[in-house]
Symmetry: C2
Subunit: 215 residues, 2 copies
DNA sequence: AAATATTTCAAACAACTGTTTGAAACACTT
DNA sequence: AAGTGTTTCAAACAGTTGTTTGAAATATTT
């Protein structure tokens, strides 16, 4: 019944092409015919190996999420010996790298971004498997910087501000390349972005330890 | 030939339901049958009044963009007499309001968010009509705060950091409600978000006037 | 009121979708 | 080599999609 352990050649080929096409087109626009053609497999192969289209999507999601999680764990490049400020810089660099660089597989970040704004029924898997652990780690770092607990509201707001900055360059890429056709085209500027976001955010949190009373 | 000026009853009804359904489902998943049913019109009405599905989408986009632009211009709530810091606060509040509150039409922000991450062929219209003017205004405010020119690279980076924070709460709403089921559910906290992002960003730019030399 | 133009409608069309089918090809064990 | 289970394949199926059609209904002009 359960074919999870079966790793036939066509099964793997389908998962590869499926991941790529799902990321490019989205779940509904991607067709099993395109996927099978690119995999060099018959049209019926998807239903035979994965039950149906949803089963294929789910298998792809779980498999490559695990793969990415192993090669790029949330605490990638972060050591216990670092000061919180350095941890934050490492976190941001890792975050940006995972999103924009040629991480394996190169299309996983795009598929994740797609689920971010337009979640399918499989979104919870990504939240629990990838997003929550990553966000939790950031919350811990921010909490250490602010001298508060990880579940403090201000910690969460600041964490969101940091994540929001990082995501902007991936999610809003279509906007950026139109607003500034040349300036932010290449992805080879992760270091500059890392420095900017780290600097911006550390300053942003600097005086936030005290209550923000205004008016 | 050109039916732009024709404002028959069914034509308007179709544009209304189309905008709503396009925003909910996206261009490709939205069906003309659903649109026409909700508009109380025949299936052939779309092709008769707008040529084809693309023509309908284009008409909806242009029409409601103009409407939103008139009721909520980019400089909404901003006066020349304000200090740059107050302008930034007004800009952020206006931005958040436009995205999360019940602006008319209430689905326009969602349609815009959809084009943001998954642009269709009509995206350039939104960039030039809505996004670029809005971003330009922000760049002017940030430039005034930093004491640089609007096309300075740091000004652009900081502007992106600000926009990124604002967009996070709209684009990543599916994530937020899963990570913190109760805490950030309601949209009735625009004031708190405005204060947080303004405070965070003003601090983030505070010392950025001087060159960011590190290491 | 007649004539003309515009709009609506039910029905059908052609293309595409995910899925199923049953036989053929293959792999492996006995 | 025969037998068994697994995998591939071309073909077809049932459903949905955007679009077209030609006649009927309505509105406008003469």
């Amino acid at each position: 019944m359960d074919k999870k352990k079966n790793a036939s050649r066509t099964r793997l080929a389908i998962m590869e092409s499926a991941g790529k096409i799902f990321a490019e087109e989205g779940f509904s626009k991607a067709t099993v015919r395109d996927i099978c053609r690119e995999a060099g497999a018959n049209i019926a192969a998807v239903n035979y190996h994965f039950g149906d289209k949803k089963g294929l999507y789910l298998s792809v999601l779980k498999h490559y999420q695990e793969m990415v999680f192993q090669t790029y764990p949330p605490d990638f490049g972060i050591t216990a010996a670092q000061k919180p400020e350095e941890k934050l810089r490492a976190y941001i660099r890792s975050f940006l790298t995972r999103m924009m660089d040629d991480v394996h597989p190169p299309w996983f970040a795009r598929l994740l971004a797609r689920e971010f704004t337009e979640p399918t029924w499989a979104f919870d898997i990504l939240v629990e498997g990838s997003i929550r652990p990553s966000f939790q780690l950031l919350a811990d770092i921010v909490a250490a910087i602010l001298g508060k607990k990880p579940d403090d509201r201000r910690v969460r707001l600041c964490s969101m501000s940091i994540v929001g900055q990082c995501l902007y360059f991936r999610h809003s890429n279509p906007v950026i390349i139109r607003l500034f056709p040349r300036e932010f085209s290449d992805a080879g500027q992760i270091e500059e972005l890392t420095e900017h976001i780290t600097f911006f955010s550390l300053n942003g949190m600097a005086k936030a330890k005290t209550k923000n009373k205004r008016r």
